[in-house]
């Protein structure tokens, strides 16, 4: 994933986290820090899949706890 797409991905995550991209804490936990539930997280993943035309395995989804996890898993999909 090139730098442009990484930024686009951060924008998607920031939108769901209701924060600005430059304020996005990569170590933030989706549930405890950003207060997103599993539905929000699935919605985020689906939006990323549709945007980047990728498919993330279900087994990978359960591993996503933090913003960094999401960035790594989506970038490597």
């Amino acid at each position: 994933m090139d730098a442009n797409n990484v930024n686009k991905l951060k924008e998607i995550i920031a939108k769901f986290a209701k924060t600005d991209v430059d304020k996005l804490d990569l170590n933030a936990d989706f549930k405890n820090d950003l207060h997103l539930d599993s539905i929000d997280l699935f919605q985020l993943i689906i939006e990323a899949e549709e945007t980047f035309k990728i498919k993330i395995e279900n087994s990978q989804l359960l591993k996503i706890k933090t913003v960094n996890d999401a960035l790594n898993i989506i970038q490597n999909a």
Binding site: I39, Q43, I46, N58
Partner: protein, 329 residues
């Protein structure tokens, strides 16, 4: 002509009840087409055994089933050959007008959320259960979809169910109550208090304030708003209590010759009374707040419930339920 999709894989009671209902509805409505999602060979054999053929039936062959214990989101991503996923794609493409299913509630909510998407202004699509009361039928919303809710969602449920109630029961300004632990405005937890303010501020809603669970079955409001956790606890307590009371009455009636005689005397009245509390006559529960009409019916539905839900679907399509939601948000 409406084209209604029906899930022939979802019910616990096999194919026959579903097919009987389809035959009955097609005979009644000339302008109806039914698209059946299920095992095409079994469906064809079932129609053949009933000597029924129609060019208003289309079969969509499905060879995967979403089970009740499947993770809903994972299932709709993996089981792309299931009736629920295939129907959701056809709903999205407007190839069918509505979909009736006795299948997994979680999977149906998941397709409403992730495939069809919530309508603008709605965060979470939700199921509103119709509960017969001593007065008019009541909608309990949320009956168990979103156990951790936000006040803004509950306010959206109040708006959605207000429109649904008006169209379903032809009643202007249905009364809306908020389930709490006391009727005073300051009673309840933080979620209830916050929701109270939001609903109260909306003058288009006929809000009667907080209501208590013990009063609901008397029909004190047309719609009761609560989060999915409390709503589901209420629903199951109500079902369990009603079932227990009926069983105790039956046991007592069977306990002596005299009481059996008395039981025979009150049987017709008792049957009449129980029929008043039969929610299946209203059809199923539509998923409110998504971009297409999906009706969820009980897993153990029989012919009568399938027929009621087809009638309900036609009525809600005639009344343009989905567009009414869109205009109101």
């Amino acid at each position: 002509m409406y084209n209604i999709g029906i899930d022939a894989m979802g019910g616990d009671n096999g194919l026959e009840f579903c097919i009987d209902a389809i035959i009955s509805s097609l005979k009644k409505h000339d302008d109806l087409k039914i698209t059946i999602f299920g095992n095409a060979i079994e469906i064809k054999e079932c129609f053949k055994s009933k000597n029924f053929e129609s060019n208003k039936v289309e079969l969509i062959d499905c060879n995967q089933k979403i089970e009740m214990n499947d993770h809903p989101v994972f299932a709709i991503r993996e089981k792309t050959n299931s009736s629920i996923v295939k129907a959701s794609n056809m709903l999205k493409e407007n190839s069918i007008d509505a979909f009736i299913s006795a299948g997994s509630t979680g999977a149906l909510i998941a397709i409403a959320q992730f495939v069809l998407k919530p309508i603008a202004g709605v965060d979470r699509p939700v199921l509103g259960a119709i509960i017969p009361t001593n007065n008019m039928p009541m909608i309990l919303i949320d009956s168990g979809c979103n156990v951790d809710s936000k006040a803004t969602w509950l306010y959206q449920y109040a708006k959605l169910s207000n429109i649904y109630y008006k169209l379903m029961f032809d009643k202007e300004n249905p009364t809306i109550g908020l389930l709490s632990v006391g009727t005073e405005e300051n009673k309840g937890n933080n979620l209830t208090k916050e929701t109270y303010k939001l609903i109260k501020e909306d003058s288009s809603l006929n809000f009667i304030g907080n209501v208590e669970a013990r009063d609901l079955m008397y029909g004190i409001c047309d719609i009761v708003v609560t989060d999915g956790f409390a709503g589901n606890v209420f629903l199951k307590t109500y079902e369990g209590t009603a079932t227990l009371i009926l069983r105790l009455i039956k046991d007592e009636i069977k306990s002596s010759f005299l009481s059996m005689l008395g039981g025979l005397l009150i049987k017709p009245k008792l049957k009449k009374l129980l029929s008043k509390y039969d929610a299946t006559i209203y059809g199923g529960a539509p998923i409110l707040g998504t971009n297409a009409l999906i009706i969820k019916i009980h897993g153990n539905s029989k012919t009568g419930e399938y027929i009621s839900s087809i009638e309900q679907t036609i009525s809600l399509l005639n009344k343009n339920l989905i567009n009414n939601f869109k205009y109101s948000f």
